[in-house]
């Protein structure tokens, strides 16, 4: 944490130091956005915009008990919310169009977790609530701890554990539905 604080303080003084933050978080933020919006292609521009916005605003970041990563994920969250709001205005999206389910018919005995691939998971996350999807994005795609997710979402750790539970139950159901729909 102290290293991160030192790095962020330096980046507030010298923009070039922000490059290290960029390298450290780029893939994680990208994965977070992919899960939130269900599309790898559209996540690309949004990810870049998150870092440009962060660079613009880093001088306003203050250390007040909220880790830098939480601040960065809030920028990503806001970016996703803006994107979804604009997208909702233009078209009603088709759940089935978001991701192509790929199911192997060759081996029906294959274990459940081996049959579902990333596309299926992305499709299944469309059936979650926004909060559940955010927890799954942060916990599994970005690999944050419960404490870090709590800070990023501005909720208690208990609330995050409850959301995590309900999200996995909902995903389980969604994946089973996906399995049955695809034969």
């Amino acid at each position: 944490m102290q290293d991160e604080e030192r790095l962020v303080r330096r980046a507030q003084q010298e923009p070039e130091a922000f490059a290290q933050i960029y390298e450290e978080y780029f893939d994680k933020i990208y994965r977070y956005i992919v899960i939130r919006i269900g599309s790898e292609a559209e996540a690309e521009d949004l990810t870049q915009q998150v870092f440009l916005n962060a660079l613009k605003s880093i001088s306003s970041f203050k250390w007040r008990g909220v880790p830098f990563s939480a601040w960065l994920y809030r920028i990503a969250h806001n970016q996703v919310v803006d994107y979804l709001r604009k997208k909702a205005k233009h078209a009603t999206e088709s759940l089935n169009g978001m991701a192509k389910a790929v199911v192997s018919d060759d081996n029906p005995q294959m274990e459940f977790e081996r049959k579902v691939d990333i596309e299926q998971v992305l499709l299944a996350t469309k059936r979650l609530t926004e909060a559940q999807r955010e927890v799954i994005s942060l916990r599994f795609a970005s690999e944050l701890s419960v404490a870090e997710v709590a800070k990023a979402m501005g909720k208690s750790e208990g609330a995050i554990k409850a959301l995590q539970h309900s999200a996995i139950v909902a995903l389980r159901k969604a994946l089973l539905i996906s399995e049955s729909e695809n034969g």
Binding site: E14, P15, E16, F18, A19, Y22, F26, D27, Y30, R31, E40, A43, E44, D45, L46, T47, Q48, Q49, L52, L55, K56, S57, I58, S59, S60, F61, R64, G65, V66, A70, W71, R74, I75, N78, K86, F112, E113, D117, I118, Q120, V121, L122, I136, R139, F140, A141, E143, V146, K151, G154, S156, G158, K161, A162, Q164, H165, I168, V169, R172, L175
Partner: protein
């Protein structure tokens, strides 16, 4: 209150995903919950595959190049003289008056003072001077956002120090500031002009300049994402920056208030909860006004 099963599930997830245990090893620890846990842990393993998602190398290289350009531009702007950024006559005049009347040390000290400090009234007065001498509504709104940030810091300080009786007073100021911000941002006629100058003591610290402009101006491709045409870009960019700032301040400040609430003594919690309610509602309105 954390549900016991939520705790157990989280413990198993940590063991499975972080420590590399197998599902059976996890279930041996919780035989009574094994039937309920097994399908959830299998689902978790499937979802864990998303951590293998990687951006395309081509995109990553292009994005890195674009970001490096933005960093260089930011660095070059930061090295320019401060009054090259802010040629506002009002700020300059206010700074000179402040130096003459009070000296820079006192004004600077006041800007960091808390409500229990004798310098606090000077701090509020300097804020009013800045608002009164700032001609544009958008610049005023920026100041309101900045001052709202200060109010939250003060509320957190008061809660930590146990001065719960004063939290409502500062929360009221926060309410007024964010209401004014929403009015200015929406272009409405402000219900009330910024308060009269109480003392001619402007702060020594000018509002920080936006660190980036040219290369961070969105590209045509980004414009289409942002829904802007190039002609409107330069006019919208300042509002856009303000919106981003207010959104992030809202997030940071609400998180800071929530964190303060968890640690605050019982006596301070009702006032803190009222302050949180004010902040949530007013920030939301301000953000909507900036849409």
């Amino acid at each position: 209150m954390v549900n016991e099963f939520d705790e157990i599930l989280n413990e198993c997830l940590e063991r499975l995903l972080v420590k590399g245990e197998t599902i059976d090893q996890c279930l041996q620890r919780y035989p009574e919950q094994a039937n309920e846990l097994r399908p959830l842990l299998k689902t978790a393993l499937a979802v864990k595959k998303t951590s293998a998602v990687q951006p395309r190398a081509e995109f990553k290289a292009r994005a890195r190049h674009q970001f490096r350009s933005a960093l260089q531009e930011a660095a070059s702007r930061k090295s320019r003289p401060i009054f090259g950024w802010f040629p506002r006559w009002a700020t300059v005049v206010a700074v000179v008056i402040g130096i003459l009347l009070l000296g820079s040390g006192m004004v600077a000290a006041a800007s960091y003072s808390m409500p229990d400090s004798p310098l606090y009234s000077l701090k509020i007065a300097t804020e009013n001077v800045q608002l009164a001498l700032t001609p544009s509504d958008l610049d005023k709104a920026e100041l309101d956002a900045k001052f709202a940030d200060r109010r939250v810091t003060e509320i957190v300080y008061l809660a930590n120090e146990g001065y719960d009786g004063r939290i409502d007073v500062i929360a009221q100021r926060l309410d007024e500031g964010l209401t004014m911000l929403a009015s200015l941002a929406s272009g409405e006629e402000a219900a009330e002009a910024p308060k009269a100058v109480m003392a001619p003591a402007p702060t020594m610290a000018p509002t920080p300049a936006p660190p980036l402009t040219p290369t961070q101006t969105p590209s045509p491709e980004q414009d289409s994402v942002l829904g802007m045409d190039s002609g409107a870009r330069s006019e919208l960019s300042k509002e856009g920056r303000l919106k981003i700032t207010v959104e992030q301040n809202a997030t940071d400040n609400l998180a800071a208030l929530q964190a303060a609430l968890e640690d605050a003594p019982e006596s301070a919690k009702p006032a803190l909860q009222r302050a949180i309610a004010i902040a949530e509602e007013r920030y939301q309105r301000a953000i909507e006004a900036l849409e």
